[in-house]
């Protein structure tokens, strides 16, 4: 899953090394409106629905955090 997320990230924001970073939001790597396109990509790819409640910086600061959130959403289904 992490690999797929990395792929999506590099499509949304090419030319950035996302691996191992835990400050994607706090350091402004993913800017304001990138997140919303990222969310719809993740929704489509993993067939989940990230709701506004999941839309918090903590869930997007690292690839691991995103994977954790997606796994949780998949389990809830």
């Amino acid at each position: 899953m992490e690999k797929k997320i990395l792929e999506i990230l590099s499509e949304v924001k090419p030319g950035v090394d996302f691996e191992g970073r835990t400050d994607l939001i706090d350091a402004g790597v993913l800017a304001s409106f990138d997140i919303i396109s990222l969310v719809s990509e993740l929704n489509d790819e993993f067939d989940v629905e990230i709701s506004v409640v999941d839309l918090v910086p903590e869930n997007f600061n690292s690839v691991e955090a995103m994977a954790k959130m997606i796994k949780r959403l998949e389990d809830e289904d």
């Binding site: 800017a31 304001s32 409106f33």
Partner: protein
């Protein structure tokens, strides 16, 4: 009153220990704002004994940026706000015409500042803040200032791609902030939650009506505009009661239904400008919060920020457009036809403005200035300048001004004159569409319709559109994209969309 610094000096006297400005990590009171601005002003005077010259401020949107603006003004010069995310190349282009005598930056941005050509002397904010205030010198500078001296210059992208720097004077902002304060009842009780960047003219409303009235201004961190719940929690926790945001930011809150999750008991006023407010999203706000005051403001940087406004006082259907209303107090507008007469009710014309909100012109650009700041064609008796906005509008039966489109958005398709904005307004009311943009492919005479929203077949969409639009206004190409792009100001990035999808 001749100088906006009197706003700060008065508020520092009346509300010394009240918070004037805050960002995520810092806040400053009025007395601190006054002292820091004077300190920076003194540092600038020591380095450059000059008057009415541009000084660039190259800092993030923080309370320190504000002290740098007012410090510049204390030194008798005017400031230009440079987006700290802007590529060095574009900054160099701006500086080719601006030639700033100095650039104020901090250690964090020093490296980039050093790589910019024509940037003038680099002044580190950290160093400038260590100066001793020289009150005598600052008073002397003030005694020689007049209200038509420049206060700031903001750069907007020109249609040719070369940015133009609009020069705005003290007088402009004093007149403008007076209208803002009386119209929206801005007082020392007002608490703003600021969205717009300082290099964008909309920020002039909240910044200057704050210092004028001893209000409080909280900078909302940009990153929260992608996290609607966090955004509203921030607004709630800072007890914000007035917001003046671009419609795209308000739409994100509406589309994600964030108001269902976070209550904003203190919020009273919602003002918006900068682009057309989609009625569907406004109705979502009104449905959730019918108790709030909503107003649609309209105007370009060249009229300081705004020249007309409409307070939402009745219901609109999702496919109706909001009026931009009537002229502001102390700023007149008129609708001129191509043959320079006043347009009749219902007749299209170009919106032109006159009065004290009108900027001085474009910095170092007499050609562009002459094109749009012209003699009032209806007045042949004495010199009187009006500003031609380049926006097409008309009056409705109620006497309200209705925005139609930019003069250059109006297209001719299949022999008809079409406003792309009209197609967007009609399509935007369709339930499955979150946001949509229309562009025109001139070479093939095709209307390209781009939308973000739930999946539907093109024929489903066309069926819905055919209920709302005549045949010649229906799009020729439909494209669904995952995310409508936004520019640095938070507005829909039409330029990028046009580049990307013009030829599909």
């Amino acid at each position: 009153m001749k100088n906006v610094l009197e706003f700060i000096e008065n508020s520092a006297k009346n509300f010394p220990d009240k918070v004037a400005f805050s960002d995520e990590s810092n806040s400053i009171t009025y007395i601190e704002l006054l002292k820091m601005s004077k300190t920076i002003g003194t540092a600038l005077v020591k380095k450059n004994n000059i008057k009415n010259k541009p000084i660039a401020v190259f800092l993030d949107k923080t309370v320190f940026a504000l002290t740098a603006f007012f410090g510049t003004v204390y030194s008798g010069n005017f400031y230009t706000v440079i987006d700290s995310m802007m590529p060095a190349d574009r900054i160099s282009t701006i500086f080719e015409s601006l030639h700033p005598v100095a650039i104020i930056t901090d250690n964090e941005h020093l490296k980039i500042a050093e790589s910019i050509e024509n940037c003038g002397e680099i002044i580190l904010l950290e160093d400038a803040l260590r100066q001793q205030i020289d009150d005598k010198k600052l008073a002397e500078i003030r005694s020689n200032s007049i209200d038509t001296d420049p206060l700031y210059s903001l750069f907007t992208s020109g249609s040719t791609g070369v940015p133009k720097g609009t020069v705005v004077s003290h007088k402009n902002v004093i007149a403008y902030s007076e209208w803002v304060s009386e119209t929206f009842d801005i007082t020392s009780e007002t608490i703003f939650g600021s969205q717009t960047p300082f290099y964008f003219s909309m920020s002039v409303l909240d910044v200057f009506s704050t210092i004028r009235n001893g209000a409080t201004f909280h900078i909302i961190p940009k990153k929260y505009f992608s996290f609607p719940i966090k955004l509203l929690e921030y607004v709630r926790d800072r007890e914000v009661n007035t917001i003046y945001w671009v419609p795209s930011a308000l739409s994100i809150v509406a589309n994600w239904k964030a108001l269902d999750y976070v209550e904003l008991p203190k919020l009273k006023k919602v003002l918006f400008a900068g682009e057309v407010m989609p009625t569907k999203q406004l109705n979502m706000w009104i449905k959730k919060r019918p108790d709030l005051f909503y107003a649609n403001l309209y105007g370009p940087t060249e009229t300081t920020d705004i020249c007309t406004y409409y307070v939402v006082d009745r219901k609109f259907k999702d496919d109706e457009t909001l009026p931009i209303g009537k002229h502001c107090n102390n700023c007149d507008v008129m609708i001129l036809t191509e043959d320079n007469r006043l347009a009749e009710v219902g007749e299209e014309g170009e919106l032109c403005a006159r009065g004290s909100f009108l900027a001085m012109g474009y910095y170092n650009n007499p050609e562009k200035t002459k094109e749009v700041f012209v003699q009032n064609p209806l007045n042949t008796a004495y010199p009187e300048i009006i500003y031609k906005t380049g926006d097409l509008v008309k009056l409705n039966e109620k006497g309200e001004i209705i925005y139609i489109s930019r003069k250059d958005y109006q297209i001719k398709h299949m022999g008809y004159r079409i406003e792309l904005g009209e197609i967007e307004a009609a399509a935007g009311s369709i339930e499955k569409i979150k946001t949509c943009v229309c562009i025109y492919n001139e070479s093939e005479d095709k209307i390209v319709f781009i939308y973000e929203g739930s999946k539907m077949t093109d024929s489903e969409l066309m069926n819905k559109l055919s209920e709302k639009l005549p045949v010649y206004m229906r799009p020729n190409v439909i494209k669904r994209i995952k995310q409508i792009p936004y520019n640095q100001n938070g507005k829909i990035d039409r330029k990028l969309l046009k580049q990307t999808y013009k030829d599909i």
